[in-house]
Amino acid sequence: MSKLVPVPSKSMIPERDLGKIPVLETRHLGIEFGGLTAVSEFDMTIGRTEIAGLIGPNGAGKTTVFNLITKVYQPTHGTTLLNGIDTYAMNTMQVNRAGIARTFQNIRLFQKMSVEDNVKVGLHNQTPYTMAEGVLRMPRYWSKERQAHERAMELLSLFHMEDMADVPAGSLPYGAQRRLEIVRALATNPSLLLLDEPAAGMNPSETAELMENIRHIRDTFQIAIMLIEHDMSLVMGICEGILVLNHGKIIAKGTPQQIQNDPVVIEAYLGKKKEG
């Protein structure tokens, strides 16, 4: 860690989190795909209970940033600090155990498993018992399974999905699948939740409800949330700090107010959208 060059962090940390270590700090994060630079010099900080937004036009590299943070892609440049710990040598599984959970832009549920089992897979590391204890149905199996069931139902109730518990995840309507992904991610007990276009395919009333839910999740779980979203009403409505990406580079950082009035952003992103 001492080898890393400290970055002047243009911190977006909300006041209540000042003085605490940021939950996530990226330093010079970048990746090249065979010569094509998808993301470069991505520096940012997220406060412990912040809701941060990552926006940018299509193909800007937003999903790639999530994939770098969660080690689905191994960065070719820079690194990420999670709770002050360098994640350089970690893989996706270890990053999750260290506290990052995510959802996917193109939904990745365990399609053939029930809704409840999807959440229970998320609870995997929270309810440990060995294979032998499971096969021989020992006491710890029963107690941990009961815990898992109760916790799964509790988490599903966040989105009022308890009565869908037995349905195969693949047969849920689109919006419910997105919500289930959030529940599954929350089940892993993260300190940072990454949401990749959580409102995609939702109607305005569903989006408004989701916005409330995201805020509610932050308040009850006391975690940081970073979201990628094209729906500006949602982003401007709930994000405390926003980061704008274009062609793999950060072109602006700031509060929703600052971003909305930033001429660079308007030209690169919002302006274009208004024309179209």
């Binding site: 365990f110 053939k112 897979v121 995997h124 018992y129 096969v135």
Partner: protein, 362 residues
């Protein structure tokens, strides 16, 4: 919420309990029939192989249906279990007189050795992404067959002797040859029986069904459905892949020991590629991930060739047609529709005789 829990439990019990009941009922009926001399001797001779193939099918379903990896060498684990099991049982024949205990030890040793080979095959392959398991298990099957074909093992008062050239070079004084190269295991005393086979099926069911309905089983199915998502929720993909594959190999090893101990001689050729494919057919036919389906398919398709013996000329033709028809019926949308239609017709017919029960019919 309590109510939900109970409903889930009852539902799960219904599914699994039904499977156990099916196996127990089949066992009792067949036992009664054989006591009353109501089954042909050829079928009676098939009872132990049926049990062995049922265990093979259930265990392969763990790899193919639950884990979602293709294995083309399941019979090679059966082979490892068969020969290590035979060697165990025969070398203990002086020490432990009880046949049942020796058979049990043979199955345990067979399972352990098959598991060890499962680890050897699985560790390098299951770390990789992609369908490498199929090709490696295919090669592994050939390797095991060839190794056993040139292996000579004998026992005398001094203990076990091993050679890779011929039976003479075992240098035994007296004693008996257990493994005789290409001739395979010879002079096995037949320890297997239908009851032992039935018990192994039950043990296999308990292991597989309890595994699938536990945290580990859910992790394995999550990996099958979406590897990246499974990793993203903190699941150790390699570990759980290996866990499922090695469990599957161990059960195949026990089945191999059971199978071999039903004959006086067994050669490695018995556990070739065709056997692996046959077991795969049971699994596909019974439905991927459907344990009860595997049991029914394995039992039915092991008996079928025997039943068709009378039409010996057309035997394989009929067998193939039955396979294709069942496959189409069980696994295609059209087949599902025909099934539903048949179900409706059946229920309508049934309703005429017993009006009250139709509402409950599923």
């Amino acid at each position: 919420m309590k109510k939900f829990n109970k409903q889930n439990l009852i539902k799960a019990l219904k599914g699994n309990a039904g499977t156990y009941l099916l196996v127990i009922a089949a066992y009792i009926i067949l036992q009664l029939m054989s006591a009353g001399d109501m089954i042909s001797s050829s079928l009676e001779g098939q009872l132990v192989p049926i049990c062995a193939y049922v265990v093979m099918a259930i265990s392969l379903n763990l790899t193919v249906g639950v884990l979602g990896e293709l294995s083309l060498g399941h019979a090679s684990f059966m082979s490892v279990g068969a020969f290590t099991g035979v060697i165990t049982a025969m070398s203990l024949s002086g020490v432990i007189p009880m046949g049942g205990v020796r058979l049990l030890l043979a199955m345990i040793v067979g399972a352990i050795f098959a598991a060890i080979f499962g680890v050897i095959v699985g560790v390098p392959v299951l770390r990789l992404r992609g369908d490498y398991l199929a090709i490696v298990t295919l090669a592994f099957g050939e390797i095991i067959k060839n190794i056993i074909n040139c292996l000579y093992v004998g026992i005398d008062a001094n203990g076990l002797h091993l050679s890779v050239t011929d039976a003479e070079s075992l240098n035994m004084d007296g004693g008996t040859v257990i493994l005789n190269g290409p001739m395979g295991a010879v002079g096995i005393n037949k320890l297997s029986g239908f009851t032992a086979g039935f018990l192994l099926v039950i043990v296999c069911l308990v292991v597989v069904l309890n595994f699938v309905n536990s945290r580990s089983g859910r992790a394995v199915m999550a990996i099958r459905d979406n590897v990246i998502a499974a990793e993203s929720v903190g699941i150790n993909v390699t570990r759980y892949r290996l866990m499922a594959f090695v469990t599957s190999a161990a059960l195949a090893g026990a089945a191999g020991a059971l199978y071999a101990m039903n004959y006086s001689t067994v050669s490695a050729a018995k556990f070739n590629f065709n056997t692996s494919i046959l077991v795969l057919v049971f699994v596909v036919l019974g439905g991927l991930g459907n344990i009860r389906g595997s049991i029914i398919a394995a039992a039915a398709l092991t008996i079928l060739p025997e039943l068709l013996r009378e039409f010996s000329d057309y035997r394989m033709l009929v067998y193939a047609i039955v396979l294709i028809v069942v496959m189409l019926m069980a696994n295609s949308a059209g087949g599902k529709r025909i099934q539903l239609w048949l179900g409706d017709k059946f229920r309508a017919l049934f309703g005429k005789f017993a009006k009250r029960n139709t509402a409950k019919g599923e």
